[in-house]
Symmetry: C2
Subunit: 330 residues, 2 copies
Amino acid sequence: MLNQPDQIAQLRERFIIELRATFTNREPRGLYAPIDYVLDLGGKRIRPVVALLAARMFGDDDLSKSMPVALAVEVFHNFTLLHDDIMDDSPIRRGQATVHEKWDVNTGILSGDLMLIQAYQHLCEVPNKSTLPALLFTFNRVAIGVCEGQQYDVDFEVRDDVTIDEYLKMIELKTAVLLGGALEMGALSAGASQDDADHLYAFGRLTGLAFQLQDDLLDTFGDSASTGKLQGNDIIRNKKTFLFLKAIELLGPEGREELNRLFSDSPADPTDKVVRVTELMASVGIPQEVARLRDAFQAEAYAHLEAAGGSAEVKVVLRALAEGLLQRIS
Amino acid sequence: MLNQPDQIAQLRERFIIELRATFTNREPRGLYAPIDYVLDLGGKRIRPVVALLAARMFGDDDLSKSMPVALAVEVFHNFTLLHDDIMDDSPIRRGQATVHEKWDVNTGILSGDLMLIQAYQHLCEVPNKSTLPALLFTFNRVAIGVCEGQQYDVDFEVRDDVTIDEYLKMIELKTAVLLGGALEMGALSAGASQDDADHLYAFGRLTGLAFQLQDDLLDTFGDSASTGKLQGNDIIRNKKTFLFLKAIELLGPEGREELNRLFSDSPADPTDKVVRVTELMASVGIPQEVARLRDAFQAEAYAHLEAAGGSAEVKVVLRALAEGLLQRIS
């Protein structure tokens, strides 16, 4: 048997071959070329891989039942990136020009629309049509959740009374729900019961939440050399993550006032700001607070993974994958 | 039995009640409020009404089987209008501010995305789940066609070698395919055979083509008082419709050169340009050419309507509805 990282790498390669096989020379090129471009930019392909693993847990050994689900979730995810990049006016995605930069905004809108349709089209190609109503029910729910999460993210930028619960709800919708949905739909496509699929959904949702907290933590307290990201980027952008909201809760009146003041400014040289915000957060134990919540989510996630039926061997791989997502700092 | 216009009006009212019943107070309002706004702007509701009529042809008397299809096609149609208005930067739709004007472009993109998902969600609510694979197959095909049509429309604006066949293909994709799809899906939802549904698709597609030609004709040769549209709007915008392309084909070298010259200019006062282009078109019998092609499409459309099985009584209503669409000039 292959070791776990090899199994994951093998699934990823297999998926990329299937994904590239969907690229066409179809006209009009102005519509289709940006889709192939964005789908070929790379990425970790986490969502399709976990969908395939969830199906393998329930006997889809050759992945023929779940590959349409894997394609659907990856195309949907890249659709959201494409439209989000337009909304955020981001010039770069995965080191390359975004679609609206390389082409234009209208191309980005229309090609993204088509990708959303193609995601449904992939889903409809599951060989076992009796699973289709349940798959679509989940896919619709997840897709709506992702849109709601994006809207909350936008809304929260101009609100100064966002609660920690609201923030967690937002990151759940924006990122965790799709990871959970990929697992749920992978399992359903292989004929798992809704109960088993629900446990996998919860495993994915909670792992997604843990991952997002970890990501926020690394942004401020990680080692930028190993994460490859600019240190303190969220602080520079005044992004009110869990770290900020929890620090506001835990700081005394003076510290709270100072942190709010720092987050209402955008100095040309942000070095001092990043240092001071980091100090304030560390002074009330934010790294420990984040780690505690992250670990609580992850423990709950593993409990759901254990509670699901299906192959124990594949569960080990899924657990290894989740560990890998969180492994970037101790 | 109600007369035909009353039956159509009754279906429209019934549909609008069902549509409004989908409006929610759901959060986040920034996402949902624009959707209710755009769906409540009005319009003729042709697509849902023909979907319901197609289902009634095959026995869906209480419309319970086809209402989800009617909602799906109307929500999809309004999604395309919302995103098209962003791409065209149109400030007004049906006499009211467009979504990106009333809110902003990002709201328009995201709310439109959610509408596309909601269209699928409506479709998935058909009570007879065994029809779902065929309905989704048609819906995906139609939705992809509409996106392709929009892209061709954009591409054609900067091309000067568009053929008449290409133009007809573009208007087919952009407008006729969805009318056909509404009829096909309405019939399928009521349990019609694919063969009968295909005839209704062809009826809708050809009626859509006839309607678009009629619309182009009215824009230049209609009576602006009765159409309510600015006379010669396509000419002012240098839009290369069937009228322009056919005139280029039929004019001699001098006329062709003059028409091309007029269409490469955008004078501040377009009155003389509109008059001269109209004269040039009339000189080679463009109104008669358009009417001939329109009538050929419509005759073929009616042949497909006759060839379909189902209630002859309801066919009469569908035919009356098609006549009504084309009745605005003789």
